[in-house]
């Protein structure tokens, strides 16, 4: 329950405001009133209502509607409450239901009738309100909840082995389980048979079915450690990481596209996926795994894994439009960035702590001790972080080269700096003052431009693709002057001269057949003109066409374009001739309003700002030059020239170094894309947002964590930089004493093994979550895990070698009556295979599975129209494509258009954290397994395999069955299947076998 009614009551110096969160026992302050008989009526009955429904808006800070209910003085202001007369009080009118609606609380659930009646009663009684009692929005500050208590090592119960169950009790897990079973008058089930066990273990640990041969070998293995050896073999398999990484990726929302509008590809997400697989396979200690994912770049600089892990923060959806197309200065841009940080904060806290922190974005958490301040404290940790591609591995050679070149560059720059300092000294400070003047003037010259930028060619991959654009005048006309105006676009940080051709000619023609050049720059490069127009004067010809032909395009960002803002054509009297002219071009991107052919003669082109500043700038620049000339010496000039040349050379060399491998991850430095600019570590201001509304910022947030009890400070030094903030968060998450982190992870692992967690709400250990069914076992596991090297493989071994895990899943009516949900684990839970397991099993038994690991995701769709909004056309995909015959973890996951077949089989939705898959049964699943192209193609593949492995029809049927379910069917069943195959062929048999319940269920 929320702590609306608990009190924090403390004596305070008179000048400090007294804030009582709720009711206190301070009789001395309480005014005598007609309600004396009901002691503390206001504190007990009224204040909690105000706190729960009103104070988030009506407090001294926000004072919505210029009204605050924080204290008596403000509450009685302006007749909202008329003491003694509820009927005349505006408050009562506002909160009373009229036609099912009340005007207050705004856009929220109205107060109940009896609550309104209480408020009326209180006002009629004179609205008694203790003089110094200040109210604050309700906040939970009660840490008296199981998950916030420190981990305590419990005593391992002594086992009394039940009669006839000699094998029960292999390790302490069983002792805890047995004790609870006994307490509930239950007993464990007997051990499952070996075929069931190897099937269970193999799917559980590597996500694939065992081969019939493996099953046979295990059944026949008489050694005492046969089971343990099997466990070791599976944990050592590289497929182990593929299976367990999938669980992790479900929780952290991994996908290969961004989601939202356009759902652009995220081609470099996969290295993070491979990193997770590798981390599991190498049995990375959990705290290292956490640290790499939150602050690997800070805590393990120079290691590829330190960057790869940061893919975690970037895993979730990202709004392309809200970041790239809308600037951060606009409301929608701010909203997008707020939601983006929210995704990061919730990913961290949901995943590692099992806390629903995101509830506190709009209001204090209603159930758990997390206030909005805490929440925005966490957002400030990510204040400078975005998601983008970043280099994680240059390779040792390149790295060495890079550091060598960088050092040289640094040294050269220092020498240059030294020369400048010398000059500065000689000028007695005049140089720097002039330079400041120049800089400030430069900032005044901001470009003025129309939203119609101009003409823009199609984008080309090569720089020498020929392009042209031409103006066709209405008739042959005498012209005298042609002017080309460059474009201005911030794209890729280019600005002025955007797309202005590098080599080109301007030609004129009367008939569009014979062309006469009037300007030729096709032999050497034309330097970027900025906004300076190219004026071609004194032409004096009669023409109808004016054409700009480009032989070398302008670079944009690793591609090439040609654009112009305007072409003006004038006669001898400077009269414009382009009215009613037409524009033709080799090609054009035609993306109005910004880019359109017709913009080329619309009379708009970008102009530099404040012209007087321009003039003053020219003067100041001249002065600066003159002053420099005075101080210069020939030696210095030579030295500088040499150094500058060397700097340029070095920069070029660094540029030319191989770029290295790239992962989509948390980033502060990256190439600008439209309005999406890197923060370069500059922290964005984060405020506590009223109702989560970006337009209603409250006080600045201070970086911090969620509090774990009342005494431990939760705030960080606000002067910490971006990197250090994340490092602090990583350290906090991995502190030994953290009550949530260790419990959270062992509960997840337990759940994946048993189908049900010890806490059945793996992402929520708060008051809305479930209680642990075995609290001591949970703590014992958490401590074992934490203190024994935080090894996942050890934990798996511990769990799967327990008697509890090895139980049969057989039903027992008596035990069922006591515990129908099997929350005490008196048997194993039968489970349906997950979408990936079904797909991978089909590939494996059909013989098509390519076990190759890692690399970019394979497509299960045809990709079309990537330039704008990519289309992911699943129905056009041919499942014969061998590239797709790999394990499902390597498939390319489209966020907005998930694979229909996988989705039907309850695959995780990559837009939400999925700690536990649904297991549903629908007729659409039946149709998918019967008729999907993948199933049909794999039935053919399977039949080919069977034909090559067995001769006679009955043998073929037997072989097929044993590959699919790893056991023999009854003679009658085999006979029926053989009969069916005889009539309809092997392919139909294979198709049918994929639909067996025994194939998709695990006992």
């Amino acid at each position: 329950m929320p702590n609306f009614l608990s009190i924090s009551h403390f004596p305070v110096p008179s000048r400090v405001q007294k804030i009582y969160w709720a009711v206190g026992a301070f009789l001395c302050l309480f005014p005598l009133s007609s309600l004396r008989s009901e002691e503390h009526f206001f504190e007990k009955k009224i204040a909690p209502l105000f706190q729960a429904h009103c104070l988030s808006c009506h407090n001294q800070d926000l004072s919505k509607g210029k009204y605050s209910l924080q204290n008596r003085r403000s509450a009685l202001k302006s007749g909202v409450i008329v003491p003694g007369n509820a009927a005349k009080s505006e408050l009562v009118d506002k909160i009373t239901l009229k036609g099912g609606k009340a005007s207050m609380p705004k856009d929220a659930t109205p107060l109940k009738r009896h609550e309104v009646a209480l408020i009326r009663k209180w006002i009629d009684a004179g609205a008694p309100w203790p003089k110094d009692l200040e109210l604050k929005e309700a906040e939970v500050d009660d840490f008296n909840w199981w998950s916030y208590q420190g981990l305590r090592r419990p005593n391992i119960p002594t086992i009394k082995i039940p009669e006839g169950k000699t094998k029960w009790g292999r390790n302490p897990i069983d002792a805890f389980i047995l004790r609870t079973l006994n307490e509930n008058k239950l007993s464990p089930s007997k051990e499952a048979d070996r075929r069931t066990l190897i099937r269970r273990l193999t799917f559980d640990l590597i996500g694939l079915p065992p081969s019939p041969e493996e099953v046979q070998a295990f059944i026949e293995d008489k050694s005492e450690k046969a089971y343990e050896h099997l466990v070791d073999r599976l944990l050592d398999s590289k497929h182990y990481g593929e299976r367990w990484a999938r669980h992790w990726l479900d929780v952290v929302k991994y996908a290969d596209t961004c989601g939202y509008d356009k759902d652009k590809l995220r081609p470099n997400a996969w290295p993070y996926r491979d990193y997770v697989i590798d981390s599991f396979n190498r049995d990375k200690p959990y705290s290292r795994f956490i640290k790499e994912q939150v602050a690997g770049d800070v805590l393990f600089p120079g290691t590829p894994e330190g960057i790869l892990g940061l893919g975690f923060i970037a895993c979730g959806p990202w709004d392309f439009i809200g970041h790239v197309e809308v600037p951060e200065s606009k409301i929608d841009g701010k909203v997008a960035r707020n939601l983006d940080r929210d995704d990061m904060v919730s990913n961290v806290l949901n995943t590692f702590c099992s806390v629903t922190v995101q509830c506190a974005r709009c209001h204090n958490h209603k159930f758990d001790p997390i206030s909005q301040e805490h929440y925005y404290g966490l957002q400030s940790i990510f204040a400078a972080v975005d998601r983008a591609d970043r280099v994680y591995d240059l390779g040792p050679e390149v790295k060495a080269q890079q550091s060598q070149l960088s050092q040289k560059l640094k040294a050269n720059r220092q020498q240059l700096q030294q020369i400048e300092s010398e000059m500065e000294k000689l000028s007695e400070g005049q140089l720097s003052s002039l330079r400041n003047q120049v800089n400030s003037l430069k900032s005044k010259i901001s470009v003025k431009k129309s939203p119609k930028y101009g003409y823009h060619s199609q984008i080309s991959k090569s720089q020498d693709a020929p392009k042209w654009v031409q103006v066709q005048l209405p008739k042959v006309t005498g012209i005298s002057k042609v002017t080309l105006y460059p474009c201005h676009d911030e794209y890729a940080g280019i600005g002025g001269g955007f797309g202005f051709p590098v080599r080109f000619k301007v030609e004129i023609s009367m008939d569009s057949k014979t062309w006469i050049p009037i300007f030729d720059h096709s032999k050497k490069d034309y330097p970027n003109p900025g906004l300076k127009p190219l004026v071609i004067k004194d032409i004096h010809s009669s023409v109808r066409w004016i054409r700009v032909s480009v032989s070398k395009l302008a670079e944009r960002s690793s591609d090439y374009i040609f654009s112009l803002a305007e072409i003006t054509v004038e006669d001898g009297q400077d009269k414009s001739l382009t009215a009613n002219a037409k524009i033709q071009a080799k090609d054009s991107i035609e993306a109005p309003v910004r880019w359109a052919k017709k913009n080329l003669i619309d009379g708009h082109w970008p102009q530099p700002g404040d012209p007087s500043a321009q003039k003053r700038l020219t003067e100041a620049t001249l002065k600066l030059e003159e002053l420099r000339k005075k101080i210069e010496t020939p030696e210095r000039i030579a030295k500088r020239a040499q150094l500058q040349k060397s700097v340029q050379e070095l920069e070029k060399q660094i540029q030319k170094l191989p770029k290295g491998k790239v992962v989509y991850a948390a980033a502060t430095h990256f190439n600008q894309q439209g309005n999406f600019k890197p923060t370069k570590g500059q922290l964005r201001p984060i405020h506590v947002l009223h109702r989560g509304n970006i337009q209603q910022p409250g006080k600045p947030a201070q970086p911090g964590f969620i509090p774990l009890d009342k005494t431990i400070p939760w705030q960080l030094d606000k002067n910490l930089n971006e990197a250090d903030r994340r490092a602090e968060l990583a350290k906090w998450l991995t502190s030994k004493e953290h009550p949530l982190v260790w419990r959270s992870i062992v509960n997840r692992i337990w759940q994946y093994h048993f189908g049900e967690g010890i806490v059945s709400t793996p992402n929520d250990f708060g008051r809305m979550g479930a209680f642990p069914s075995h609290p001591e076992l949970l703590d014992w596991l958490a401590l074992e895990f934490r203190d024994q090297g935080q090894s996942f493989k050890k934990l798996h071994r511990l769990i799967v070698t327990s008697s509890t895990y090895r139980q049969s899943s057989k039903f027992d009516p008596k035990k069922h009556k006591i515990d129908s949900n099997n929350q005490f684990f008196w048997r194993m839970n039968r489970r349906r295979l997950q979408a990936e397991e079904i797909r991978d099993s089909i590939l494996k038994v059909s013989g098509a599975l390519n076990p190759e690991m890692g690399g970019p995701g394979f497509y299960l769709f045809k990709l079309e129209k990537t330039a704008h909004s990519p289309h992911y056309e699943y129905h056009k995909f041919d499942p014969r494509d061998e590239k797709s015959h790999r394990r499902s973890i390597y498939r390319f996951i489209v966020r907005s258009q998930p694979d229909p077949w996988m989705t039907t089989l309850d695959c995780a939705d990559s837009s939400q954290s999925t700690p536990k898959r649904n297991e549903t049964l629908t007729s659409l699943q039946a149709l998918a397994l019967l008729n999907n192209k993948f199933n049909l193609v794999m039935a053919e593949r399977f039949s080919m395999r069977i034909q090559s492995e067995a001769k006679s029809l009955p043998e073929q049927v037997r072989r097929a069955v044993s590959l699919v379910i790893q056991r023999e069917l009854s003679a009658k069943e085999i006979e029926e299947l053989t009969q069916y195959t005889r009539s309809h062929g092997l392919k139909n048999l294979c198709r049918l076998l994929y639909n067996l319940s025994e194939f998709v269920y695990l006992d």
Binding site: A108, I331, S869, D906, L930, N932, L977
Partner: protein, 481 residues
């Protein structure tokens, strides 16, 4: 969720509570599992068809007549406050791009572009003071479709399927008819089940494709009807053997049943999509009397009419056969040339054909439902993600306006001939800015009409009790019969 006892004790209706409970349960016989066993109150409607105009359809040029704009056309726009436009559409005032005329007894003014709907205005309630939260298509589309601005939440149809189950298990409960050219912003996430059971997800049907429903039939040369039938029989026997050795696991039983249902769906779904038996006058009504014609490359009315009309007719056939929720989309993503309602450049060029095509189909659907007596318990909801600005962008386009737009409702339990919640004189914001209508209110109202209290249809997910209406929503009692 309400249990039976709560319902019986809380009911204060004239009808004997027990009898009412029986009445409300009646429909569930023979249909699929439903989260709400006993409805919260007597329903007015059973099914919903939602027409979603992707890209943001202009209220100003279709439904919300603004003489002010006609009068001040071309004059500098002035909103009396700072406006943040999505792009730069704060040019001069732009008059409605189509002529408005009064229709019906209510004399409702609607534009020539949607003139076919003129004959139904007396059955329609227009809500002119809808407000959104963002001018970004993706987020705004999510908001209208799922009640949340972000991905990861179930669509309205999923919630309703989850709550009420299907009326006819041989067909999907929630069917989506996407624009034939492609998906709108967010694609299938607009109708995903998210954290609800997969059975409540929208099933997309593409009537023009060779495979209108994916996986309905096996397309392989080795499969024929005998191999299918005999295979299914054998499969059922084997699965039954497996199930009998594992008594009390209801899932294994349900799985056998799911194959039987699948076989039935194979028969009923193609029948539901087959328009060949529809009489000529019905085809004509939906504008389908020249199906299969060749169309010009430019956007044009006959083509838009055929595609939207076909979806509307299929919608009617599905509703008639017991599909609970049908969602029809008009408009695909934002590629060029535009084939959606996002008319930044030339409103007349794009809205003209799209609106007329939509109006022919929607008017036919209303008329057809009415003549079959189905309009009484079917809700028709027309929606879009936001509206467009009264000022111009370029000279012939309009920018995004999330500050006000129009929805309309028709059918089961909704008043007709009503214009509810006016917008201001320019159609820029609601006239009464402190009392706008939000998507939560529309969702709450639809659930209400279906017999569901929107505050009590909840599912706990990751520790949070989720609702279609989040923590908001008021039933719009003023528009109900």
């Amino acid at each position: 969720m309400l249990n039976r006892r709560d319902f019986l004790t809380q009911s204060s209706l004239g009808l004997s509570s027990l009898a009412l409970a029986m009445l409300l349960r009646e429909e569930s016989a023979g249909s699929s599992p439903r989260a709400i066993e006993v409805l919260h109150h007597p329903p007015k409607a059973k099914r919903v068809v939602q027409l979603f105009m992707a890209g943001a359809a202009s209220h100003l040029d279709l439904w919300d007549h603004k003489p002010y704009l006609e009068k001040h056309h071309g004059k500098k726009s002035d909103f009396g406050e700072h406006v943040e436009a999505f792009q730069n559409g704060l040019g001069p005032w732009l008059k409605p791009q189509f002529e408005f005329k009064p229709y019906g007894h209510s004399q409702k003014m609607i534009s020539e572009a949607v003139q076919p709907l003129g004959r139904h205005v007396d059955d329609i309630t227009f809500i002119h003071n809808m407000v959104g939260k963002t001018g970004v298509h993706s987020q705004a589309t999510y908001l209208q479709a799922t009640g949340f601005q972000r991905p990861g939440f179930p669509g309205m149809g999923s919630w309703i399927s989850y709550a009420l189950g299907s009326i006819n298990e041989n067909l999907p409960t929630f069917v989506v008819l996407p624009d034939h050219r492609g998906f709108a912003s967010n694609g299938p996430k607009n109708w995903g089940a998210a954290f609800l059971p997969a059975s409540s997800q929208g099933t997309a049907i593409f009537p023009q494709r060779e495979n209108p429903i994916e996986d309905l039939h096996a397309r392989a040369d080795f499969v024929n009807s005998t191999s299918d039938r005999e295979g299914l029989n054998l499969l059922n026997r084997l699965n039954r053997n497996y199930q009998e050795e594992r008594p009390q696991d209801s899932r294994l039983q349900a799985r056998i049943r799911s194959y039987e249902l699948a076989a039935r769906m194979q028969l009923s779904a193609p029948e539901a999509l087959d328009l060949s038996k529809e009489p000529k006058h019905i085809l004509k009504l939906y504008g389908l009397d020249r199906m299969g014609s060749k169309y010009s490359k430019d956007i044009n009315i006959p083509e838009e009419t055929e595609y939207f009309g076909r979806k509307c007719l299929i919608a009617r056939r599905l509703l008639e056969r017991g599909v609970r929720f049908v969602q029809v989309w008009s408009g695909n993503d934002n590629s060029f040339p535009r084939r959606n309602w996002d008319s930044h450049e030339n409103l007349k060029r794009d809205h003209g054909p799209l609106a007329r095509g939509m109006a022919v189909g929607a008017a036919a659907l209303i008329e057809d439902l009415k003549q079959r007596g189905m309009l009484d318990d079917t809700i028709v909801l027309w929606t879009t993600e936001f509206g467009r600005m009264p000022s111009s962008q370029g000279s012939t386009g309009r920018d995004h306006n999330p500050y006000v737009f129009t929805n309309w409702l028709c059918g089961g339990g909704v008043q007709g001939g009503l214009s509810y919640g006016p917008s201001d004189e320019w159609g820029y914001k609601p006239l009464d800015r402190s009392n706008p209508t939000q998507v939560y209110d529309v969702h709450a109202t639809i659930l209400h009409l279906l017999g569901i209290d929107h505050t009590r249809l909840t599912v706990r997910h990751n520790g949070i009790d989720r609702r279609l209406t989040d923590v908001h929503g008021h039933v719009l009692n003023d528009i109900l019969t």
